[in-house]
């Protein structure tokens, strides 16, 4: 039987070799088209509906064609800097990203550490979990006045709001990850007589990494949600303030452009954390 299979294989091989590259390129193009075409069609339809719905004499919101015309200068030159808060969108986005980077970075370190602690120690779990469960339901902006009072300064307050928003899902998911380590892995560790630190680095951390990154991914999304709201209140450079400023000047087209940018950056942040998670865990999160 093997003989027959081998004969068939070798007979079909030469043909295959010549057709393969061309076929694969076509296949890849078709695959790419299958992925790209549907969203493009849906986007086109949505833009057309929007254009039609806002095409009257005095529409409440501008149609996409007007948005594009109004904001063309902002789109083509995202890096101008006329001093103060009159800067290009890139600078606003970068200022917001910097706050999120610091706040989320602090939240990641603290969240993972606290999560491992309450995941491993039943005492810490019993003591801290009820407090966390209450605190995590406090809306991000409710923290802003108290952090302004504590820090007396706008920037650290905004960063604190990011931190306190992002930290809970990281803590709770990490804790679940540590608590769910299967009994089998513990038995393997016991048979091998792994020491405390060995167990932590070889079992606990890798076993809970997917959970950690689930928390980090939720956390970064929440940070981005919170920063826009916080910046609307604290002012200064930042995409949240940009939106608020545009609203005060009745520049609706600029608000719409900023919303699109906020959405895209939020999406990229989510994918970025997901990609790091995949890299660290060696499997998709």
């Amino acid at each position: 039987m093997t003989g027959i299979i081998q004969t068939v294989r070798s007979a079909s091989k030469p043909q295959h070799r010549f057709r393969l590259p061309k076929l694969r390129l076509l296949e890849q193009l078709r695959h790419a088209a299958e992925v790209v075409v549907p969203p493009l069609i849906v986007l086109g339809v949505l833009l057309a509906v929007w254009e039609l719905a806002c095409s009257g004499a005095h529409p409440a919101l501008p149609p996409p064609s007007k948005v594009l015309r109004d904001t063309w200068d902002l789109i083509v030159d995202p890096t101008f800097d006329h001093g103060g808060t009159d800067k290009g969108l890139l600078w606003h986005l970068l200022a917001s990203l910097k706050r999120v980077g610091i706040g989320f970075g602090l939240a990641s370190v603290t969240g993972v550490a606290l999560g491992v602690l309450i995941g491993q120690s039943t005492f810490a779990y019993r003591g801290l979990d009820p407090i966390f469960q209450v605190l995590r339901t406090v809306p991000p902006l409710a923290w802003l006045p108290i952090s302004l009072a504590a820090f007396q300064n706008a920037d650290p307050s905004a960063i604190f709001v990011i931190f306190i928003t992002a930290v809970w899902p990281i803590v709770l998911n990490t804790a679940v990850g540590v608590r769910q380590i299967p009994e089998d892995y513990k038995n393997v560790a016991r048979v091998l007589r792994l020491s405390g630190p060995e167990y932590f680095f070889k079992i606990t951390l890798p076993a809970s990494v997917p959970y950690m990154f689930t928390g980090l991914r939720i956390g970064v999304g929440l940070s981005w949600l919170a920063i826009v709201a916080a910046e609307m209140l604290i002012g200064g450079v930042g995409i949240g303030f940009f939106i608020w400023d545009a609203w005060n000047s009745s520049l609706i087209s600029e608000i719409i452009l900023a919303l699109i940018y906020v959405g895209i950056v939020g999406f990229l942040l989510d994918r970025f954390i997901g990609a790091i998670g995949k890299l660290v865990a060696g499997r998709p999160i």
Binding site: N187, V191, L192, K202
Partner: protein
């Protein structure tokens, strides 16, 4: 027959909310070096508990386990376990799973020797071509092969196997049984294997230990399998000693100690 592993009057009582439950009572067994012992019994008879006590993963309420004249009461690599569900770490490759055990047990050896030893043990279970595959890229049988390699790589005094092939299909199971027989012939390990498969027990073991049903399960009978080695599954089926052993175990399990309808 010199006693290498001695199980002395082991009793195990679990404390549950509904009261104490005596799982095992007065289990005694002496196993010689290089012997292959299969433990068979209905589910819930405490055979896995017994294996866990020998492994040191569970502490017996009464009695003791002696290995080479030393009392064992905690887990260690000298009693490597092949777990029922392979228990490989999913984030490590086949190689890294075995290497973790090798690094821990032979930490004083140079890295090249540990690398060699890891590859050698994976080759022993015919996994040399899938060294860098993760467990979820391997079939159930291959995972169990890696699990066996990891246990063997610890150079245990006793190899403990907890229904290692229970979750595999019949053909895969047969191939793994052949692998285990080959390894046992080459290395001469002392093996305790839990199983619920009569044919598996008779084919592999020198002695088949039959457990009564719980509560207070204990050893009911022991069947000596006097089939010459190496054994080949096609040759043994007609062997009168195989047929006799198989029948004795079947009678024990399904006549004298039949499990009440579940």
């Amino acid at each position: 027959m010199r006693g290498y592993l001695t199980i002395e009057q082991i009793g195990m009582t679990f404390q549950a909310a509904s009261g104490a439950y005596q799982a095992l009572s007065d289990v005694s067994l002496t196993i010689a070096e290089g012997e292959f012992v299969a433990i068979i019994g209905h589910s819930g008879c405490g055979k896995s508990t017994l294996l866990n006590i020998v492994a040191g993963l569970t502490k017996a309420t009464t009695g003791a386990v002696l290995l080479a004249n030393q009392v064992v009461d905690e887990p260690g690599p000298d009693r490597a376990v092949v777990f029922q569900n392979h228990s490989l770490l999913p984030w490590l490759s086949a190689y890294a799973n075995v290497r973790l055990a090798v690094d821990k047990v032979f930490r004083s050896k140079p890295a090249r020797e540990r690398d060699n030893w890891t590859r050698q043990n994976l080759a022993l279970v015919q996994m040399q071509d899938a060294l860098h595959k993760k467990p979820d890229e391997l079939s159930g049988g291959m995972r169990q092969r890696v699990g066996i390699a990891r246990a063997l790589a610890m150079q245990p005094k006793v190899l403990l196997m907890d229904e290692p092939f229970g979750a595999l299909d019949a053909l895969t199971r047969a191939r793994l049984q052949d692998t285990v027989m080959d390894i046992h012939r080459t290395l001469g390990n002392t093996v305790i294997m839990i199983t619920h498969d009569v044919d598996e027990a008779v084919l592999l073991a020198d002695r088949v230990v039959m457990m009564t049903n719980g509560p207070s399960a204990t050893i009911g009978e022991i069947c000596d399998v006097r089939l010459p080695r190496p054994r080949r599954r096609l040759d043994v089926v007609d062997n009168p000693d195989y047929v006799r052993s198989r029948k004795a175990i079947m009678q024990f399990l399904y006549e004298r100690h039949a499990k009440q309808a579940a």
